[in-house]
Symmetry: C2
Subunit: 205 residues, 2 copies
């Protein structure tokens, strides 16, 4: 059967040095953040990319793969940064401050991915799910260990280190709200406010 097309086919627009898959993953991040992984459909994603749903599968394996890419992309960046911080020869408070700064930066510069990785990892399927949870647990353990060292050195108040880690991580995750807000506080002011409250609350003075 012969079919005549009057308008030309759509095409995923790419910039220099970015694959079409990267474009899809990036749009998926926005969409998953906005509606949640389950509520965001492949047809929604296709529309955002400017193409039909089926066409996406020339570039990706499945919807879940998109979530993998996002979650592990973020997790790997955090793990790599933790390696660097641990290797440094500074005191514990400075290490904590550097971790906090990195988190805030990631939240500001890679907002959508970080947010999705934080909130939607539940929907990973099982070889990946356990893997992700392990990485998460490890990261928190290492973070807590730094705080515990600080407590032994009397740099930091004698609080429960794992509790402190959770407080810090979740507090930073709350930056979401500014991205929706119109009167955005500038990044530097935001960072220094958070450092004051979070690190200030730990310090033994």
């Amino acid at each position: 059967m012969l079919v005549y097309y009057l308008r030309s086919m759509a095409r995923i627009k790419i910039e220099k040095n970015t694959s079409r898959k990267e474009v899809i993953v990036s749009k998926a991040a926005s969409l998953f953040r906005e509606k949640g992984f389950k509520a965001a459909s492949m047809r929604d994603l296709a529309e955002a990319v400017g193409v039909e749903a089926a066409s996406l599968y020339n570039h990706i394996k499945s919807k879940t793969e998109l979530l993998h890419e996002l979650c592990f992309g973020v997790a790997n960046r955090f793990m790599h940064h933790m390696d660097q911080v641990e290797a440094k020869k500074t005191n514990s408070i400075d290490k904590v401050e550097e971790l906090v700064r990195f988190h805030i930066n990631e939240m500001i510069n890679h907002y959508e991915e970080v947010y999705v990785s934080d909130r939607e990892w539940k929907h990973l399927s099982d070889p990946y799910l356990s893997n992700f949870q392990n990485q998460r647990r490890m990261y928190r353990k290492r973070f807590a260990a730094i705080i515990e060292t600080g407590i032994r050195n009397k740099e930091i108040k004698a609080i429960d280190a794992p509790t402190a880690v959770l407080i810090i991580l979740h507090a930073i995750g709350g930056i979401e709200s500014w991205h929706r807000s119109t009167k955005k506080i500038d990044a530097d002011a935001l960072t220094s406010n958070m450092i004051t409250i979070l690190v200030g609350g730990l310090k033994n003075d």
Copy 2:
């Protein structure tokens, strides 16, 4: 057509002074927290309640109604408590501490509902959605106003009050992790740790 049933019909078990609808709403809270609102199906819920999916509709209007009940139930409790705190004649730090204590208590005693209200309100539909968002905004404004009063009185460090509110609220939201953890820290210790870090970080000393 005549049908003979060999086993008796299931029935939603209720305790004294609880309607069957309340049982459903409560099970829905667990389920929505565990899988997310979109991923949790009415058939899942039916199974958790011990009944067929269609039977649920003798007690509830729709799946979304369940989310309404949960979200506004929680929101109303917080609003009511805010009324009480504002009416008190204590200083700002004490008011903040009381708000924090209430949040922690709610998180511990009504964990599932609070969690769902916090994470799944996005899936409300529009007359309710705007309403909920407004309530949320109002609550945060009133919280921030208390902190600002404290700053003017030199009780509290000169930080950005809305930032402080977000940090506090999200930090408390992070208690989730303990409910999954086996070695649960006891509630009092948890609370005092959080007060130390959060309120301690605000205090001007």
